[in-house]
Every structure is written in structure tokens, then in C-alpha cells.
């Protein structure tokens, strides 16, 4: 189709504001899916996405729609909805000319609304503001529409009011997409330039890249080059999602679709890279390419030492479909052989662990996540991915840690508790604005390490669930940090080491040893738990020796039940790690470091 008839757009929204439901209505309205095939959250295909109600991978679906007697081709790009995938979101946005900014009529603007609006404006997209769920009893569409008009800088009557659930207002919204979003404006006759905005891996077909053709034309079978990856490959098939993958002879400037190459490794088709024709290459690649960069690190160890090769194979396989996953072998005195893995964020880490366990059936211990520290010694900069590798104090000049710029949207009444939390987490206030007299947005510069544990939970609990959070990576800043070691029976346990702000080391040590005392079961002997900074012991706890572990009565003949009780106990023991002579449960390796940092007395 001529570019004039094409509209490429996406829906951006805060989680649970109804993005997937709206997409479902679009599919129905344009008859892209028959009634028989229709199911909720149609575009979320992974089991994990459907279970969690979130979008992890982008999707692109072609819709055909007539408006005012003119046929149009609409490409709806469903973007991931989590801060871990901000870069993927920005690439999906780069594949569009317009975005529907969808806001819940009962919730109003949230942190992700702001972040997504910011990203979409930066990408130069036409914004179509829309208020969703207007039929909810607690909805306040007019106030929210006013907030939204203020944010976008438009007239209140330009804000569309819809109910994705009932379908009310959805046809008008689709017409607005056609009327307001400009058609693509690439050069159909130019050299091919196509943006990869996501990629997946199919066991049978290899890598499937989601692409937006900006200039030129890509035929089904042709020799193509990846401009950043600097290699060429034969394309096997191009097609569109309508909504299932449907091959087409070619994709031209303005089109959105997929490309199959038979490549066996998704890292070769990285999000953000530009595809061109080998024979007639474009001179410049499309802007905005970035290497995926892990922000959060954690050790992954098989529960059974013998499962190490299986875990390695599982990671290798997962890597084929997840270009952002980084890992290197490491070994721990406490946990044996495993991997240090880098993730985009905590959600990414969670998803990876779940997929590993699901897809390979290897039980995995995940150590407490940490950020990447930079240790500076003269002109040398050492990246530390594992707290136990942090050099001893006095052997370096200083340490840097990553910071984020966090956006919190909260009812104004909770500003105090929110600011208190951010201050406790070493934050510095950057900006405070009122979206309306009742709602404020607040920006803080915070160490990433301070928000990867329970910041979000704390934020929710201090604001009765009303505050929302989003953040973007800021860069490295110098910090006063020290390594705190934990010792069992006088021996340091590497997997328990942690890097914390110097002035919190003592409190951290006390909290960690106290937590471990709760987590480590009583053994046949007394267990000493200590925390140390360098050679200085800062805290000590003791687990008393156990004195009773026996089935009191064993007759009446029901030996089967007694044996099963013991088997369960044995299973529990098997799942523990023997560190020296001490049996340590797996949850200790992550939970011990998840220390409640509220000042004493503030809780319970």
C-alpha cells in the first residue's frame, strides 16, 4: 500500500490502565481476529506474559480499516510495559509515527504515563491522549482529561474518552489515529533501511526480527547486511502479523513486519540495529543504536551441583532468544560452580530465573542482586559484578555506583512519607511539580542499589498503594561504600558479602546477622554468625544447638506416615547448602541481604 494509507502507532500506558484490552478491541473492530479465535490479552503470547498480565516482548499487528471510504493499513505495535525494557520501548516507539497515551479514568496520570509520554515526545511522535475506563463507578474522566490535556499541551476536547472494556468510544479513537497520526515519510526508492525493534527466537525458524522499513524495499529472498553488527546474511522470508505471521513478497518504506533469516542466535539481530541490502547499502544507519547493558547482577547456582552442565546449556539456549542476558562462569566456596548473570533489571532477573526453571527443570539458587560497582585506582577502573570481589579498603582511590533518576507520582498528601523514604535511600531531590492540586510528581536522583530490593514495596506501603514509580538510568557517581562480610563459625561466606554505604555498615551487619539467625535452622552444635568490615567484627548472633528432633511416638503401626514425614525432612535438608559444617537454607542466600532499612521503631 501507498505510504499515504499507512499509520504506524502504539499504545503507551501505565500498568493496568487497559492497554491490552484496548488492543483486543482494535483487533475485533477491524476484524483482524475472528470471534472464535478471540481471547483476552490476545497479543501477549508468552505464558509468563499472560500469567503476570504484562507485556515482555513487543508485538506488531497489521489492522485494515476503512475510514471515510478510504482504506487504511494500521500497524499497532504493542510495546513492553516495564522500566527494565525502556530501551526496547524506545525502539518500538521509533518504529511509529504516533502514540495513544492511555490513562485510567479512576487512577489518573501515573509515573509510567509521564515516562512514556516523555519517551514518545522525544521520539517525535504525535500523541493522542485518551482516557480509559470511563464507565467505572469511581471514574472521574473530566478531571483526568484535564490533567492529560495539561501534560500533552492540547485542548481538553482533543482528549478522547473510551471504555476499552465495553468498546464505547473505540471507533472514534481509531478514526483519530487515522486523522491525526501522519503517514510514514521515508524514501520508497532509496537504499533499504529497516529498524529492528525486537526479535524472538523460534526453535524451527531461527531468529525472527521485528522490523520497520524506513526507506527502500525488502524482498523475501535477498542478501542483507546488519549495519552495526557488520555481517551479512540471506533473508528467507518477510511477512506481516495479521495477526498471525503471514508471508508477503516484500516490505516497503513505511511497512512494519517480520524478517526470518535462519540465524541461530538472537544476539546477531540486536534491537536497534539497521538492516540494509548488501548489494546497495545505505550510507548511514538509523540513529539510536545501543548495546544492551545489564544493570543488575546476581549469582545463579544449580541446587544440585551435578546440574551445572544442564544450567549452562539452559543459559546458552535462553541467550538465543534474549540478547540482553549476560553471564559468565563463577565459583563460590559456599555455592560451588555457577554463573554471574547480568540483567536489565529485577523483572528481567525474575523472568529469566522462572524461564530457566520452567524450560530446563533445573532448580536454581539466585543470590541477592547487586549493581555493578566501579573501583577506581589511579587511571585504572575495575568493574565489580560480585560484592565478594570488592577489593579491601585502602587498596583503591574511590568507588562509583550507578544512579537512576526516579519519577514518583503520588497524591499530594503522601509527599512527606515519599520524600522521607527517598532521603533514607540516599536520594537527592531534583524536582517537585504538581500535576493538579491533589497530585504531585517528584524527581529524585537515587543509587540504583537502593531501589533494587524493596523500594517499590516500601513506596506502595507508605502511600496505601497510591504512588507509582518509574526511573531511568543516570550514570555513575562516587560513593562511600564498604564491603561487609558474613562469617559462619569464624569463616567468611563469600555468597553473603555485600557492598553498602560506609555509614550504614554497622546497622546492616546487625540486621543481616539477625536475619540469618532466623533463617539458619538449629543444628547439632551452636552456630556463630558474625558480620565484619575488613578485620573488624561489627555484629554477632548465635543459633543455639538443637536438642529435640525425633518423632515422639512411633507405633500403632502407621510407619508409612512417619517415614513420609522423615522423607519430607530429608528433602528439606537436601535443599540446604552445607557451608563448612553448617546447613544453610537457600532462601538465606537471598533473603539475608534483603534488610529492612527503616529506622528502628518505625515499623511493627
Amino acid at each position: 500500500m501507498d505510504q499515504e494509507g499507512i499509520r504506524n502507532f502504539c499504545i503507551v500506558a501505565h500498568i493496568d490502565h487497559g492497554k491490552s484490552t484496548l488492543a483486543d478491541r482494535f483487533l475485533e473492530l477491524t476484524h483482524a481476529v475472528s470471534e472464535r479465535q478471540m481471547r483476552d490479552q490476545y497479543l501477549d503470547r508468552m505464558d509468563l506474559e499472560r500469567e503476570r498480565g504484562i507485556t515482555i516482548k513487543a508485538q506488531a499487528v497489521r489492522l485494515r480499516h476503512e475510514s471515510g471510504g478510504v482504506k487504511h493499513e494500521l500497524n499497532l505495535i504493542d510495546t513492553p510495559g516495564h522500566v527494565d525494557f525502556t530501551y526496547e520501548v524506545s525502539r518500538s516507539l521509533a518504529a511509529c509515527e504516533g502514540a495513544i497515551l492511555l490513562v485510567d479514568a479512576a487512577q489518573g496520570i501515573e509515573a509510567q504515563t509521564l515516562a512514556n509520554h516523555h519517551l514518545a515526545t522525544e521520539a517525535g511522535l504525535t500523541i493522542i491522549p485518551a482516557v480509559n475506563k470511563i464507565d467505572l463507578p469511581q471514574a472521574d474522566p473530566h478531571t483526568v482529561a484535564a490533567e492529560l490535556a495539561e501534560l500533552v499541551g492540547c485542548d481538553v476536547d482533543e482528549v478522547l474518552l473510551v471504555s476499552a472494556k465495553s468498546g464505547q468510544g473505540v471507533p472514534d479513537l481509531l478514526d483519530a489515529v487515522i486523522a491525526r497520526v501522519p503517514p510514514p515519510s521515508g524514501d520508497p526508492a532509496g537504499s533499504l533501511r529497516a529498524l529492528i525493534f525486537d526479535s524472538t527466537y523460534d526453535a524451527y525458524r531461527g531468529v525472527i526480527a521485528y522490523i520497520r522499513v524506513v526507506d527502500g524495499e525488502l524482498r523475501g529472498r535477498s542478501r542483507i547486511s546488519l549495519m552495526t553488527g557488520k555481517f551479512s546474511v540471506e533473508s528467507e522470508e518477510v511477512g506481516v502479523f495479521a495477526p498471525d505471521a503471514t508471508p508477503v513478497p516484500s516490505l516497503s518504506a513505511g511497512d512494519v513486519g517480520y524478517l526470518v533469516t535462519g540465524m541461530k542466535d538472537v544476539r546477531r539481530a540486536k534491537v536497534g540495529d539497521t538492516i540494509t541490502l548488501t548489494e546497495r547499502p545505505a550510507r548511514r544507519s538509523l540513529p539510536g543504536y545501543r548495546e544492551p547493558k545489564p544493570m543488575v547482577w546476581s549469582g545463579l547456582y544449580p541446587v544440585e551441583g551435578g546440574d551445572y552442565p544442564t544450567l549452562r546449556d539452559a543459559l546458552d539456549k535462553l541467550k538465543l532468544s534474549d540478547a540482553a542476558l549476560v553471564y559468565e562462569p563463577e565459583s563460590s566456596q559456599a555455592l560451588g560452580f555457577g554463573f554471574r548473570c547480568g540483567f536489565l533489571g529485577l523483572l528481567h532477573m525474575d523472568i529469566t530465573r522462572e524461564r530457566l526453571e520452567r524450560e530446563s527443570e533445573v532448580e536454581v539458587i539466585t543470590t541477592a542482586p547487586n549493581v555493578e560497582f566501579r573501583v577506581v585506582r589511579g587511571t585504572e577502573v575495575i568493574s565489580v559484578h560480585n560484592p565478594s570481589e570488592m577489593p579491601a579498603p585502602g587498596t583503591y582511590d574511590y568507588v562509583e555506583e550507578p544512579y537512576v533518576l526516579a519519577t514518583v507520582v503520588t497524591p499530594a498528601g503522601y509527599l512527606g512519607p515519599v520524600m522521607e523514604l527517598c532521603q533514607q535511600r540516599r536520594g537527592s531531590l531534583q524536582d517537585l511539580r504538581y500535576l493538579s492540586p491533589e497530585r504531585a510528581e517528584i524527581h529524585y536522583l537515587l543509587p540504583l542499589a537502593e531501589i533494587i530490593f524493596d523500594f517499590f514495596d516500601q513506596l506502595k506501603s507508605r502511600t496505601r498503594g497510591y504512588a507509582s514509580l518509574d526511573y531511568e538510568h543516570w550514570g555513575y557517581e562516587r560513593s562511600e561504600l564498604v564491603r561487609v562480610d558474613v562469617l559462619l563459625q569464624g569463616e567468611p561466606v563469600d555468597a553473603f558479602s555485600s557492598v553498602v554505604p560506609r555509614d550504614k555498615a554497622y546497622a546492616y551487619g546487625r540486621a543481616t546477622t539477625a536475619r540469618l539467625r532466623e533463617l539458619i535452622p538449629r543444628q547439632l552444635f551452636e552456630v556463630a554468625i558474625q558480620a565484619a568490615v575488613g578485620n573488624r567484627i561489627v555484629a554477632r548472633e548465635t543459633v543455639r544447638a538443637k536438642r529435640k528432633d525425633v518423632l515422639a511416638k512411633c507405633y500403632g503401626g502407621d510407619v508409612t506416615r512417619k517415614r513420609k514425614l522423615l522423607e519430607r525432612q530429608k528433602e528439606g535438608k537436601r535443599r540446604m547448602r552445607r557451608v563448612g559444617r553448617v546447613d544453610v537454607p537457600q532462601e538465606a542466600f537471598i533473603a539475608a541481604l534483603r534488610v529492612d532499612r527503616q529506622p528502628e521503631g518505625a515499623k511493627r
Partner: protein, 374 residues
């Protein structure tokens, strides 16, 4: 398969009487209050069930009969006599076989007990549980300490030469001092056998629900360990031999029937929910008395479930049962490096190639059972 074996394996026979006047707060056995009207039919079913097994168990030699419950003494002595007589006719019993009946203090007096003795009962097991009224209340026992004393005296007067007292420690509110008085009084009465066990909270009991709901705390294992130490000391001084985790006996008065469980000998259980064991098979009868009776009267063995023990199951069972007793297990069943650790820390003794737990070790038996095998 053992018909031609030179020595006939000794076996035990268990008979379950599921009726109680009331149910105790901690009891999770297959017992029912208010079903006494079924008793007549139930006893008939028991005897009918025995016939269903006779052919399979005629190649063994029965050394013990144990009537447990429930409360077997809710039955009249004549009924108990009829049961014993019929079972002795149905199965090959040794002449001096041990015949135990469990009794609730409130259900027995001297004439009743004389009736039991005449019925062929050789051993009486009295459910005393405690001599402290507050502890009895916490256990939701209906009898008094006084009726327990009376029942014991009546048993001796009636002429019972072998009497066991059952006591429990660690109920909510029981202090170390209270337990010391209970176990001291139990010892000073001079029974032939004392079963003293730590209260275990089972989820599907009134006490289990109270603990689950946070109304009362679960027993404190350290306090129970102190109570265990006190029992070991007092009963040891009084001349009782500590031959199993929760059992003490005067020389020659060990419970032959219960030893059968720990030694892995075959046993046949008759009655609703009763368990049986022979070779690599364990099976159990259906639990509801009505269903049990219906199946038996249809001429069907009332089996509700069974399992076949793998070698691994068998090994674990022998270890878990054997280590409970003073005789212990062959040392080769346990990892040598762990044996060293257990002996070194005073939990076990190694003698004549057998590993037996010390008194302290017995209370930590699971730790040894769960150590890797040798």
C-alpha cells in the same frame, strides 16, 4: 514363602477398637465418640475379618496381641474374652503370648479388671497422661488424676502383673516442676512399664487447630528436651531400662508387641483403619467404621490402601525404627565419617559393630537417621 523356613517368624496381631467416650484434644487416631451403638456389629465384623486373613497368616507364630484404640475398655469383659478366644483360634499363637489391652482410667474398676484378666489379658496399658489436673485439662482428658491412681491400684488388686502407664509431657502450661512431679509419681507407683512421650501437635486435632489459630503456642522443644532429661534421670534411678525413645521398662517387662514394630517384624492389624506389615508390603484398612463393617460383611478384605516398599524405603524405615531402640542398628548403615561425628559429640555409642544412640542422641534421632548413608 517362609513355610519351609527352619524358624517361624514371630508376628504381632493388632486389634483396633475405634470407640471412645469423648475424644482427647491431641489424639489423631481413628477414633469416634458417640458410635457405641455400632459396637456389637463392629465386634462381629472384627471376627469375620480375622477369618478373611487366616489362610495367609497361618504360617507365622504370633507372639503378641494388642487391643488398642480408641478405648477397648468401652467393651464389656465378656466381649473382650470372646474376641481373644476367637483370635487365638483363628491364628497360631504361642502359648505365653503377650496380650495387652489399652484402658482409660475412667472405664475400669477392680471387678472389670478381674474380668479382663479372666478373659486372657496379660498386660494392661493405662492412659494416665498426667497427675496434674491443669495438664489433664490442657490435654482435654476427661478423667482426674485421682481416678488414674484408683485405676492403677485396682489393676494391682485385680492381679495384673504387667501394667504400663502412658504419660505425656509438654502440654500448654505444663512446667518442668509439674512434669517432674508427674513422672516421679508414676515411678513411685511402681508400674512395670512407662511410656513417656513428648506431646506432638497434629494438625487435624482440636489442639492442632488451636495452635494453628495462634490461640496456644506449639510445645517448646527446649522445654520438652528438659522434661525428657528429667524423665531419663528419674526413671533411670528408679531402675527402669530406657529401651526406646519414649519407653522405659523393668527388666523383663519390655512390650513385645511394640518391639515388633521397631524390629520390622510382620504384623496384622484388624479393625477400622488398622495397619499391617509383612515383607515389603504395608497396607491399611478403610477408616470409617460403617464402611469397614460393610466391606467385611460382604466378605471383602477391608483394605483401603497399600504400598510396596522400595529398597530405599526399607533402608530408611529400618534406620528410623532401629535407631529408636537401645539395640541400635548395624554401624555399616551409616556413613563412617558421620559416625565419628555422632560418637565424638556424645550422641551415639559404637559397640560390637552396632551404632546405638545415647539418651541425648535418642532425642535427636532424626538427625542421625537423615545423615547420608554409608
Amino acid at each position: 514363602m517362609t513355610a519351609n523356613a527352619p524358624s517361624v517368624p514371630p508376628a504381632g496381631l493388632y486389634v483396633h477398637i475405634p470407640f471412645c467416650l469423648t475424644r482427647c484434644g491431641y489424639c489423631d487416631f481413628n477414633t469416634y465418640a458417640g458410635l457405641d451403638h455400632l459396637a456389637g456389629g463392629y465386634v462381629n465384623a472384627l471376627l469375620r475379618e480375622a477369618e478373611l486373613w487366616t489362610s495367609d497368616w497361618s504360617d507365622l507364630s504370633f507372639v503378641s496381641l494388642f487391643m488398642g484404640g480408641g478405648t477397648p475398655t468401652t467393651l464389656r469383659p465378656e466381649t473382650i474374652e470372646r474376641i481373644i478366644r476367637s483370635l487365638r483360634a483363628a491364628f497360631p499363637f504361642e502359648a505365653g503370648a503377650e496380650v495387652t489391652v489399652e484402658a482409660n482410667p475412667d472405664t475400669v474398676d477392680e471387678p472389670y479388671l478381674m474380668g479382663l484378666l479372666a478373659a486372657g489379658v496379660s498386660r494392661l496399658s493405662l492412659g494416665v497422661q498426667s497427675f496434674d489436673p491443669d495438664v489433664l485439662a490442657a490435654l482435654e482428658r476427661m478423667h482426674s488424676a485421682e481416678s488414674a491412681r484408683r485405676a492403677f491400684a485396682a489393676a494391682r488388686l485385680a492381679g495384673f502383673a504387667s501394667v504400663n502407664l502412658d504419660v505425656i509431657y509438654g502440654a500448654h502450661g505444663e512446667s518442668l516442676g509439674s512434669w517432674e512431679r508427674t513422672i516421679q509419681e508414676a515411678a513411685s507407683l511402681g508400674p512395670d512399664h512407662i511410656s513417656g512421650s513428648a506431646l506432638t501437635i497434629e494438625p487435624a486435632t482440636p489442639l492442632g487447630r488451636k495452635v494453628g489459630a495462634g490461640l496456644i503456642p506449639a510445645p517448646d522443644p527446649d522445654l520438652q528436651a528438659d522434661m525428657y532429661d528429667v524423665a531419663c534421670e528419674i526413671l533411670g534411678h528408679a531402675g527402669y531400662d530406657h529401651y526406646e525413645v519414649s519407653n522405659w521398662a523393668r527388666p523383663g517387662s519390655r512390650c513385645l508387641h511394640n518391639l515388633g514394630y521397631w524390629e520390622g517384624r510382620p504384623y496384622l492389624g484388624l479393625g477400622a483403619g488398622a495397619h499391617s506389615h509383612r515383607g515389603d508390603r504395608r497396607w491399611w484398612n478403610v477408616r470409617p467404621p460403617e464402611q469397614y463393617m460393610a466391606m467385611v460383611s460382604a466378605g471383602v478384605r477391608p483394605v483401603g490402601g497399600e504400598e510396596r516398599l522400595t529398597e530405599e524405603d526399607h533402608r530408611l524405615e529400618q534406620l528410623l525404627l532401629g535407631l529408636r531402640t537401645a539395640a541400635g542398628v548395624p554401624a555399616s548403615w551409616v556413613d563412617p565419617s558421620r559416625i565419628e561425628e555422632f560418637v565424638g559429640s556424645g550422641l551415639a555409642d559404637l559397640r560390637d559393630g552396632r551404632l546405638a544412640l545415647t539418651e541425648r542422641g535418642l532425642f535427636l534421632a532424626n538427625e542421625v537417621v537423615l545423615a547420608p548413608s554409608g
